[in-house]
Amino acid sequence: MTSPMIPPAAAPTTMSRADGLHMLNVSHAFGDHTVVSGVSVFVNPGELVCLLGPSGCGKTTLLRLAAGLEDLQVGRITIGEDTVADGQGGAQMPPEKRNVGLMFQDFALFPHLTVYENIVFGLAEKDRTRREWARDTLTTMGLGDYADAFPHTLSGGQQQRVALLRALAPAPRVLLLDEPFSGLDVNRRAQIRQDTFQILSRSGIATLMVTHDPEEAMFMADRIMVMQHGRIVQSGTPVEIYFHPKTVFVAELFGPVNRLDCRVENGALVSALGRFPANGLAEGAEAQVLVRPEALNLSQPATADAGIPLTVVSARSLGRSTHLTLSLGDDDAGPLFNARMPGVFLPEIGSRVSARVAPEHLLIFPKSAP
Amino acid sequence: MPHMKRLFAAGLVAASTVFGATTWAQAADQEVNLYSYRQPFLIKPLLDAFTKETGIKVNVVFAKKGMLEKIKAAGDNSPADAVLTVDIGRLYALKEGGVLQAVKSDTLEKNIPAHFRDPEGLWFGLTSRARVALVSKERVKPGELTSYEDLTDPKFKGRICVRSGKNAYNVALIASMIAHHGEEGAEKWLQGVKANLARKPQGNDRAQAKAVYEGVCDIAITNNYYMGKMMTNDEKPEQKKWAAAVRLTYLNQGDRGNHMNVSGAAVTKSAKNKEAAVKLLEFLSGDAAQKIYAEDNQEYPVKPGVPYSKLVQSWGDFKADTLSLEKIAKLRPAASRLVDKVGFDDGPGS
């Protein structure tokens, strides 16, 4: 399936292309409950920044603050050169004046308006150029036949595209996306994600997206900011976040990992899965080593020099990869490890395999001294 | 800026005319605004006669609850010139509420005997009515029931019908019992009547007569004019049958006389058309109006010399209790509390 082509007019005007979003030292509380504390977010023009974190970490609040749907309590928000909200008693620009596009998780399409009417909702009556653009884009996105239909007759994916188009139609200076794909069927998600990525990268607009799905963040984002308990715990490119997580929390965002408690002995970290380089940790220091399931390299038959011997407790093929549970002991009583091997790798239950970990895939977190 | 002022004033005039504010838009005309506890269709013949004689138009608004509060709240601006009520309690409440003004009129004083009006001229009785017993012709022998006190006689157990003890007419009757027997005596009496009731107090006066006709009970306590109205009701001839089943009996003829109440009228303190209002009262106490009251409503005219209707006359002469109406009115709250205390409205056997 080819991704839909967006006519050039989809791009906002060159003037707004230069606008970025700056949220400086923002804090927010609902009653006694602080949901955001001291967070700064910068989204440059043409950049897509992803706020990643579990539900309740404050990421959606940040989005609503940027849109002006919540009054800013502490901090400052600027779009381009304009301060749109000042938490130090300054003015709060109402959302309709900010020229931001916001796409909601539930799409929030107006049920009483047709697809076309929804898209041009934010356009002036006489804005013929954008109205024409809306018509054209609908057609190129394969929704031309639905222009006069009501939203509830559309599929989830179609509704998502309408919502995105509606947000983009007034050529916003900043685009905000709140869990844009979570309302969609899993098997359609990948395709729609790709389509959306295409649309956004062509538009060159500063985009702030909120999600709890790390894979989604990896796919879409130029930069990911991981949030936990209302704070940013790490910010970086997708590769940095995945390969160099600063905390166990960040590392575990991408799925369950194998945890190993280690101690530095004779200049090396000693663990159940073998000895690893100490990476400058002092002798006797304790550390936690995380090994992602895909970083465990298995081979069969098990030989002593092929790695640590493990017993297969279960092996399930997922088609593209195989998921295995392994035990250090002879049966499933010993410490268990998860592994994921590409392709079909289906050793018999109870058989022995050898496991080896590439040192560059180890995630080492020193335990702070008690 | 005199212009602005005039403009504003004109606007207010226009507004008050549009929305029907009556006070000064109509003050200049010869008319009188009447708050009435009586249904307009009942008093229409009287008012029509008044307008015909004097050329003064009467605007009526009919209400039962809240009239006093309405007049009080409006203060000097109240559009009401006069009030027409059906029981002494309302007249007294209006007087106590301070919304009435004293009227000095030779005609009124001549037409209305002193015990039917307020000594200071704050209110005037226009008709009087007796609270009588309607007894079954078949089941109650003449002379068997002669007084209110007889109603507690155990021989009448399960044979008496009466409307709610909280009804204004009953409250006044109980107040008169307090006046004559003291609160304790009245309580005992009310207890006794309650014990003799045939059913839970309910319905209106006519419904009690109907119950006698139906055999539910043998004695009904009602106002006298209902008997007349039932007897002459051509629209609902079945009421004639009810009346035919009962005999009207005046009570306490051997001693103090039958308990009486009045319907009356008063002029409000804020009356803008005081002159017309007094004229109306004078007219209502005059021969022509008193005759209409007697003939159409079967009430007793207050003006001496105006004959009772033929029908009323057929019930014979009677002796009226001359207990001061003011005294009855003052005892109303006590009477009402007594009804609660005795649990009168819960009916017999409770």
């Binding site: 509380a29 609902f30 009653g31 006694d32 002006g68 749907l69 309590q73 502490v74 959302p95 309709e96 900010r98 916001l102 909601f104 998780q105 929030a108 107006f110 049920p111 009483h112 909702f121 934010g122 009501f150 509830h152 509606r166 947000a167 007034p170 916003p172 | 004033a9 207010l12 008050s16 929305f19 029907g20 504010a21 006070t23 000064w24 249904q39 009942l42 605007n59 009526v60 608004v61 209400a63 609850k65 509060e69 709240a73 409006a74 109240s78 559009p79 709610s164 909280k166 204004a168 839970k200 107090p201 309910q202 209106n204 119950a211 055999g215 109303r332 709250p333 009477a335 509390r337 609660d340």
Partner: protein
């Protein structure tokens, strides 16, 4: 760099402060709510003026009786409206049986019948001299009351029956709308989990519809609380009867206002308790799939029972009173026609229409204000303003007249001093007073309906509209208003029908020479000449019929996804 704790604290305190001081919307909401609640505040103020103590007397004598009977009355009516309203709503939405199409809208008809008219008709037919007992006597040869037993119509049971028959349509309308909105999936899940259709109704559909049903029952019970005419007619001494007794027989308006205030507190407590019981249970529709409703086809005896169950309330709540009225109207046609029949009909209709428009506008403003503004103060004020529905009408009327006449007199004095012109009673002497009284009384109807409708419009839609450049008023006109059309229409029609029937406020607040159908009927009814005003009563019913049928048909069309029902 401030200490983290300091950062966390500052917004919290700021927010708490902001919570107590309402924002712009909050202030507007608060002001409007207080405007509507002024009569209630006036009643509470009257209650505080010194007066002879009535509580000791009431406590020693009738208070417990009042409370007991009031609880029985509203309990009975709550149960009755629940059974009839929910039962019929379930049958017509979920089952198929003969006559379903007709019942679907005809079940709303009793709403158009004033309670006092139904009370009169019932008594007329069922009392000793009535047609029913008369016929029975003829058939069985009984001679008098001692020969047989027949239930006493003038009783608690009679009052509950009559009021239930008139009030159940509130529950029916709301329950039906709730059932229509429910996803069929959850019911099907229940069936696959081994529950019978009946169990599914009881365990799934009913709890899901609970908020709507409770709203309907609350309306019915509040209406029962404020009623005096009907209970008085049936000889049932309720709390409201006590209020009038203290006021009129004991000449103690302050004591009466104290009783009325207690009644208000009672209602507030009930409403708060219900809300607390419901807290945490938020019934979101978990599935948005729209499918045709399943319609269990009922056959044989079941179909017949369903038809009878639906037919009875219509028969007794509408057909019977309407036909009795028609028969009287034919006989006494000329009596009614003499009395400016057309003028008073016009008065009734224009007054009710005006009140409906005002109540909807204010209800919309308040519902919208609460949605936009934060803060417990405006919220509490709006809740308070809507308990006017439970206050006895005559008491509320006094609450209207006292502050309004006070205002009039101030304006008059000012105008007299500055312009030398007396303005008289600008408001309290005019129909404006009646309209204000209607607003204070029926706000609960319009506000409740609109708030429920607005609740179904997702907040994200507000956000979407705002970020697309619409200001709050544009959001209201372009998004909320069209989505709320059905709710607004429903609110307006409910208020209209109730105003057509309204009596105590109208009779106290109307100016000279101003009659409505209800006051006209009352004049005759209060002298036991009800039959002569039958044409007037019939007109009230007929005028209520049109909106009631529109109401039934509109809610019938509304299905989820259409979010309120009316697209082009």
């Amino acid at each position: 760099m401030p200490h983290p704790a300091a950062v966390a604290d500052r917004p919290a305190t700021r927010y708490q402060l902001a919570r107590l001081i309402p924002d712009r919307w909050g202030i507007i909401t608060l002001a409007v709510a207080l405007f509507v609640a002024t009569p209630l505040i006036a009643v509470a103020t009257i209650a505080m003026t010194p007066a002879p103590d009535i509580w000791r007397h009431l406590y020693n004598t009738v208070l417990f009786g009042y409370v007991e009977r009031t609880v029985m009355l509203i309990g009975g009516i709550g149960l009755g409206t629940f059974i009839i309203g929910t039962g019929t709503a379930w049958l017509v939405t979920m089952c198929r049986f003969p006559g379903r199409g007709l019942f679907n809208w005809a079940l709303v008809l009793p709403l158009a019948v004033p309670t006092y008219i139904l009370a009169f008709v019932f008594t007329d037919q069922l009392e000793y001299a009535g047609a029913v007992q008369g016929t029975l006597r003829e058939i069985f040869g009984w001679r008098n009351r001692q020969d047989y037993w027949f239930p006493e119509i003038r009783s608690m049971g009679g009052a509950i029956t009559v009021m239930t028959l008139v009030l159940y349509p509130y529950v029916y309308l709301l329950a039906r709308a709730a059932f229509l909105e429910q996803s069929v999936c959850v019911l099907e899940v229940s069936r696959t989990l081994g529950k019978s259709a009946w169990q599914s109704f009881w365990n799934v559909a009913l709890p899901l519809a609970r908020p709507a049903i409770v709203v309907g029952m609350t309306l019915a019970m509040m209406e029962a609380l404020n009623d005096f005419g009907t209970v008085d007619f049936f000889g049932v001494k309720t709390f409201t009867a006590g209020i009038y007794d203290v006021w009129l027989n004991m000449d103690n308006i302050s004591g009466a206002a104290q009783l009325a205030s207690v009644l208000m507190i009672f209602v507030v407590v009930l409403v708060v308790l219900e809300r607390m019981a419901r807290r945490g249970q938020r019934y979101h529709h978990t599935s948005s799939k729209i499918q045709a409703l399943p319609s269990y086809r009922l056959r044989g005896i079941k179909a017949m029972l369903a038809a009878v169950f639906c037919a009875l309330p219509i028969l007794f709540g509408f057909v019977l009173p309407a036909s009795v009225l028609v028969s009287y109207a034919v006989v006494f046609f000329d009596v009614t026609l003499q009395a400016n029949y057309l003028t008073i009909t016009l008065n009734s209709i224009s007054l009710s229409l005006g009140a409906a428009v005002i109540a909807v506008a204010i209800g919309l403003l308040l519902a919208y204000g609460l949605r936009m503004g934060s803060g417990p103060l405006p919220r509490a004020a709006v809740r308070f303003a809507s308990i006017g529905y439970a206050v006895p009408g005559a008491v509320l009327a006094i609450g209207v007249i006292v502050p309004m006449a006070g205002l009039d007199n101030s304006i008059d004095a000012f105008s007299e001093r500055v312009f030398g012109v007396s303005t008289g009673l600008l408001f309290s002497g005019t129909v404006i007073a009646i309209l204000y009284g209607y607003l204070a009384r029926f706000l609960a109807l319009s506000f409740g309906t609109i708030e429920a409708g607005l609740g179904k419009v997702s907040r994200n839609m507000d956000g979407a509209a705002r970020t697309l450049g619409a200001n709050p008023f544009q959001t209201m006109s372009r998004v909320h208003f069209p989505l709320l059309r059905t709710s607004l229409l429903t609110a307006g029609l409910l208020v209209f029908v109730d105003c057509m029937k309204e009596l105590p406020i109208t009779i106290i607040l109307r100016p000279f020479g101003y009659d409505t159908l209800a006051t006209f009927v009352f004049q005759y009814a209060s002298d036991e000449l009800f039959e002569e005003s039958a044409l007037g009563a019939l007109t009230i019913v007929a005028a209520g019929l049109i909106p009631v049928v529109i109401l039934a048909l509109t809610t019938l069309r509304s299905r989820p996804g259409h979010a309120g029902g009316g697209h082009p």
